[in-house]
């Protein structure tokens, strides 16, 4: 299918720092056309919802700013940056010691490097972001810096493109909470690149909160040098259409990666998580748990690729996909995808699909707890393993310790 007629030509002329990237993205979009369900990674996608993105206007410097007034307070010491596709997120901000802006040749050199290493530079959602992003937040992290909270807002039926690049230098440590929030049938196209230098450490939380009618396309590309530690905790709920694609590559092995995810869908929402982990050197580790809760008529998709080529001897990877169906009409598609060529490795994977356990419900009810409260307690217990890992008290501050699940508050 071709791109909606005229959409590409109506975009503002390529300009600014990202001009070459915009040209590249637009050319790719016109050549690739629109994704098709014949492509494996889009096979289960409701493409009509993707098409609907092209009805939205794209946020730019002239757009009304989304309201950042009602955000929860940020912990002391933490740096909050708000990105809404219009104003410069660094305007009026004094960056703390250790965090500096990447500009000029340095930026051009780093831009897209991690996307290429993660082999996702030509993916359709990435090219879409290339084509429409007009600004980039690019930061260099040195040493041990204060926690950073990146809040990305979308509202008023706008498509908000955001692009972030983080260069985390050798031995640096970063605690990062990204909050992607949308309301008013808006959409996000988000692209993040993180490069972790040797012995660096990034504890990354991504909290993606829609209100049921919004759309999210988020691509996270992470490149790890040896002896680095990267942890991603993603929590999503409330997206009519969502696609989250974290891709991590350990370029020399000997690094550790942990990926924990929770996606909650209700009503007729569709949310897909496509993770890809690639070990390009020996002795890397991965600890991955992806959980879903699907209520009502919603559809949750998980695709977890792990690639262990020949140089990645003594890799130790585990992946577990746990899926909870709260309704007979909800649907879950979970697919592990392990490509293992190295022969001296330990890779385990598992997938479970279940409903709330009758015995657990009865146990709680036999202690005076109503059916609905018992179900909510069980759901909260199920989510806790992931929610508690969000950095910067993300769960307590942004969710108030509760998730809305199919009309129940856990």
């Amino acid at each position: 299918m071709a791109m909606p007629e005229g959409w590409l030509t109506q975009l503002p002329a390529p300009a600014g720092t990202l001009e070459p990237v915009q040209r590249r993205g637009r050319l790719a979009l016109s050549e690739q056309g629109f994704p098709s369900r014949k492509q494996e990674s889009w096979r289960l996608t409701d493409l009509t919802r993707l098409e609907a993105l092209f009805q939205l206007s794209i946020a730019d410097q002239k757009s009304d700013r989304s309201s950042a007034d009602s955000l929860p307070s940020v912990p002391e010491q933490a740096l909050r940056l708000v990105i809404d596709g219009s104003l410069d997120p660094l305007q009026g901000v004094t960056l703390p010691a250790g965090i500096s802006q990447l500009e000029g040749a340095e930026l051009q050199q780093a831009l897209g490097h991690t996307l290429s290493r993660c082999r996702c530079a030509s993916d359709w959602p990435v090219e879409l972001n290339h084509g429409v992003s007009q600004q980039i937040l690019a930061l260099r992290i040195r040493g041990n810096v204060p926690p950073v909270e990146l809040v990305m807002l979308a509202a008023n039926a706008m498509l908000v493109p955001t692009r972030v690049l983080l260069l985390v230098e050798e031995k640096a440590e970063l605690e990062l909470l990204q909050v992607v929030s949308a309301q008013g049938q808006a959409a996000h196209s988000h692209l993040l690149e993180i490069h972790l230098g040797q012995e660096s450490k990034v504890n990354h939380g991504l909290l993606a909160l829609g209100e049921g009618q919004e759309a999210l396309l988020a691509n996270l590309a992470v490149e790890q040098e040896s002896r680095s530690h990267y942890s991603l905790v993603s929590v999503s709920q409330g997206w009519s259409f969502g696609r989250l694609e974290p891709r991590v590559v350990q370029v020399d092995g000997q690094a550790s990666t942990s990926i924990h995810g929770l996606s909650v869908t209700a009503a007729d929402e569709q949310f897909a998580v496509h993770t890809a982990m690639r070990f390009e050197g020996p002795e890397g580790t991965l600890d991955q748990v992806q959980k879903t809760i699907a209520a009502d008529r919603s559809h949750s998709i998980f695709n977890g690729a792990i690639q262990v080529p020949r140089p990645a001897q003594r890799t130790n990877a585990s992946q577990l996909s746990r899926n909870l169906l709260l309704s007979g009409r909800a649907r879950v598609d979970a697919k592990p995808e392990l490509e293992i060529v190295a022969d001296d490795v330990r890779c385990t994977h598992g997938a479970t699909v279940s409903q709330l356990q009758e015995d657990q419900l009865f146990y709680l009810r036999s202690r005076g707890i109503t059916q609905s409260s018992a179900a909510a307690l069980l759901l909260r217990g199920y989510c806790k393993e992931v929610l508690d890992r969000l950095p910067l008290e993300g769960s307590q501050r942004w969710l108030g310790d509760s998730l809305q699940v199919g009309g129940m508050t856990s």
Binding site: Q360, F362, L364, S366, R367, G368, L377, L378, G381, C383
Partner: protein, 262 residues
Amino acid sequence: MIRPDAELLLEINDLHASVEDKPILNGVNLQVKAGEIHAVMGRNGSGKSTLSKVLAGHPAYRVTSGSVRYLGRDLLELEPEERSRLGVFLGFQYPIEIPGVSNLEFLRVSTNARREKQGKEEFDTFDFDDHVRNRLQVVQMDPAFLERSVNEGFSGGEKKRNEILQMALLDPVVAILDETDSGLDIDALRIVAGGVNELASPDNCTLLITHYQRLLDEITPDYVHVMGAGRILRTGGSELALELEKIGYDWVDQQLAAEGVA
């Protein structure tokens, strides 16, 4: 403690029940008065555990006929949570693990549900903390277990102590303990039995479901009932349990054969 004038708390009449359309209970009759401790014994498959689950309202068990009156009301029409709030307690043979749900929070929510029904003030987090720590001594339980997920990673003995702790907190009128002695070593058995004895009062009653005399060495029942083929075949005093220890259950087969049941 048998008192002829004591209040009738639980009255089971000709109770029949099935699970997955398979009849398990075939006419259970039992009356339990305030202050009494009843032991229900019998072989595996005799219907003891089913009786306990039916009384607690497990949705997998269907009552096909008969009645159960509790404090003068129809117990069977009540939801499991309502039964608990009104003072019916089931100590599980296999307490369920609930990952991610804090034991302390679970205990507080259930205790408050019961207290509300009793017309007592609900505990806030701090008051409950004091209260539960006080009740821990009933089963000599380590406070560290309050901070863990419900029963998760507890040993068999710890799970049973947690059950009796719940009993201590919920202050039941009818306590049904389903094989509380299984999986306990001698010391744990004494502690758990001590807790049950401490909680027994002239105002409540206890139904002990057990296979073994060893629990009854610690808790002296007023009545011992022997179940077979889904009903009570014989009732006696505490001496009946001692007799069973000697003669076993072969007579059950003979009795049922004589009745044409087995």
